[in-house]
């Protein structure tokens, strides 16, 4: 049984990692187009990526839109999660449902809606338009993450703080926020990643001026099969890997500092 599940786990890993084994070597290729295995090695497409504003601008755009989406989503999601978890009010169930609705709607349907509606508001092809649309997609994720953390939060700790002389703001600043910081960080990261990855809505409304990286990749593939796409994919993979390793190391260092 153990043997089978071990094999199965490796199989799943292989399945997930296989595309990487193709994409990463292709980024170091010399071929004029996608070709696997690469006929010869080189870094010319890395040079091309970092020299070409048509690639760099969407990269910057993606970071700006991702960060802005994370900020706006948190600004909406934090109060929403606190209100729904901690208070009883008329229509609470409906608000809860409404907050989760974007999860159930297909992106293509939402994208179509934004395309027609934002067009009328002249929000297509603007940062603001993409940020608003992405915020809508990210709110459920942030709301779910935060409300799960809040439900497990011991209110007596806040009561203790109050009892010890902290007014409501100081209770939040010194106790609630520091204790929930990991959940806040995870929620914000989820929002950023969701926005960074999002393709369908970006295709419909980001236009040329606010074009995001996934949209640029899509455009590039459709028109010319430019191997720079493999470079971009490899760079993104590198960033994610570095982030994961860094957070693992940070967690391990904290455990070493304060042995339980």
């Amino acid at each position: 049984m153990t043997r089978f599940s071990d094999w199965f786990a490796w199989l799943v890993l292989l399945f997930l990692a296989a595309p990487l084994a193709i994409v990463v070597p292709m980024s170091f290729s010399n071929a004029p187009s996608f070709q696997f295995p690469p006929p010869a090695w080189g870094v010319q497409y890395y040079r091309a990526f970092f020299a070409d504003p048509r690639w760099l601008q969407p990269t910057v755009n993606s970071f700006i839109i991702g960060a802005a989406t994370a900020v706006v989503t948190m600004a909406l999601g934090i109060p929403a999660a606190f209100a729904i978890v901690r208070h009883r009010f008329a229509g609470r169930g409906w608000v809860n449902l409404l907050l989760l609705l974007p999860l159930t709607a297909p992106h293509i349907v939402l994208a179509l809606g934004y395309y027609t509606y934002f067009g009328r508001l002249r929000l297509t092809q603007t940062y603001l338009g993409v940020v608003l649309a992405h915020t809508c997609l990210c709110v459920p994720i942030v709301y779910l993450t935060l409300s799960a953390a809040l439900k497990g939060f011991d209110r007596n700790v806040e009561r203790a703080a109050m009892n010890l002389g902290a007014n409501p703001w100081r209770v939040f600043r010194h106790v609630t926020f520091p204790m929930l910081r990991p959940a806040f960080l995870v929620a914000a990261l989820f929002a950023f990643i969701q926005s960074f990855d999002e393709t369908v809505v970006a295709l419909f409304i980001s236009g040329r001026d606010a074009s995001t990286l996934p949209r640029k990749i899509f455009d590039s593939l459709r028109t010319q099969a430019d191997p720079v796409v493999a470079v971009v994919s490899t760079l993104l993979l590198g960033i994610v890997l570095a982030g994961t390793i860094a957070s693992r190391l940070a967690a391990r260092r904290r455990r070493v500092e304060t042995p339980a």
Binding site: N156, V157, R159, M162, L164, G165, A166, R170, P259, A260
Partner: protein, 365 residues
């Protein structure tokens, strides 16, 4: 004793159901150690929460040293509290936890450090000042919570089942510790528990809660020996109850239903008419030979079961069909087997008369 903490006819109700606290009045003296004892849902914790300010009374008043607390926010009340699950701040060390109330009060840093060190020393935790709560045992965490609740010199210390999560030996240690602190600082303490032993051993006075009301308040011995009603008598300690009738024409005698007349010492506030007679199991003793004459009453008991507690035996059986429990110490009942017949004696002063609730009167005598 003049009331330092005065709870005046406090009611707390949540919607249409029976109020959680239903007209509680208590006058607590300065420096007193008062225990709120009762089963869960009896309103003792809700009353405590209203003193701390986490709940607002529906009606009534809570006064501390003459001024009403009701409209004062919890963080301005200067009332310390120790929670059952400690409620320490997990992201702060023991020292930072204890310093928190001083920080909130803008105490100078040097003064903070001095008082934190002092408070940690008073609970014997200087060595662990820089540990986080997750690196401490339950008992150590509870000591930090105690130090944190005392370091800012609160007017009253509230303790909400503070020892509930600890094992038996640690509980007893902490009981002694809390009593020592009470003696040394002389702070008014209100201690909520459902553990009658804790209430008996620690308190100056015990307030027995049931269904949102205070059934009785008095010294531990008063509530044990002279419970105000059957609930108190049953909740604290073990007891035998018999239905009885007081005949005004025969003072000093009570007719026990189905058993016959027994001598009962006159009580200052004895109820009349239909009564309940309570006899604690440890007041019953083996009647040896024929010397049960004089003023003593006797019961003939058939033994159903014997439970050995090591320091005593609990003998469970019947007298004339009514359940009877007797506690025997000092080897008096060694070798006793189920099925044995005993003669038990008790003095007229060993019984306590209680009024019988109206609902039970029809069926009993």
């Amino acid at each position: 004793m003049s009331a330092y903490l005065d709870i005046v006819d406090v009611v707390k109700s949540y919607g249409a159901a029976r109020p959680a606290v239903d007209g509680v009045s208590l006058a607590i003296g300065k420096g007193e150690f008062v225990t709120f004892l009762g089963p869960s849902g009896s309103g003792k914790t809700t009353t405590l929460m209203m003193i701390a300010g986490f709940e607002a009374p529906t009606s009534g008043d809570i006064r501390l040293d003459g001024r009403s607390l009701v409209s004062i926010e919890p963080h301005r009340r200067n009332v310390g509290m120790v929670f059952q699950n400690y409620a320490l701040f997990p992201h702060m060390t023991a020292a930072q936890n204890v310093a928190f109330p001083l920080r909130m009060r803008g105490v100078q840093r040097a003064e903070q450090q001095r008082r934190v060190a002092e408070a940690l020393a008073s609970v014997d935790l200087q060595a662990l000042a820089h540990r986080h709560p997750r690196e401490m045992s339950g008992g150590q965490q509870q000591r930090v919570a105690l130090a944190r609740a005392l370091v800012f010199a609160p007017d009253v210390l509230l303790l909400d089942e503070p020892l509930g999560a600890l094992d038996k030996n640690l509980r007893e240690q902490m009981q002694v510790e809390i009593k020592r602190i009470h003696r040394e600082i002389g702070i008014t303490m209100i201690y909520v528990t459902h553990d009658q032993t804790e209430a008996m051993t620690m308190s100056d006075r015990v307030a027995v809660f049931s269904n949102g009301k205070v059934e009785q308040i008095g010294s531990p011995l008063e509530v044990y020996n002279r419970p105000a009603n059957r609930f108190v008598g049953e909740f604290i300690g073990d007891s035998n109850f018999f239905a009885g009738r007081v005949d005004p024409s025969r003072p000093g005698w009570v007719e026990l239903a189905g058993i016959g007349p027994v001598r009962i010492a006159t009580q200052a506030t004895a109820p009349a008419g239909e009564v309940e007679v309570m006899i604690r199991p440890e007041r019953l003793r083996l009647a040896t030979g024929g010397d049960t004459g004089g003023a003593d009453n006797t019961f003939d008991m058939t033994v159903d079961d014997v439970i050995n507690y090591g320091d005593s035996l609990l003998v469970i059986g019947k007298t004339r069909g009514f359940p009877l429990r007797a506690r025997m110490v000092g080897g008096a009942a060694d070798g006793l087997q189920p099925g044995a017949a005993l003669k038990l004696a008790w003095a007229p002063g060993d019984a306590h008369l209680l009024p019988r609730p109206p609902a039970e009167r029809d069926s009993a005598v």
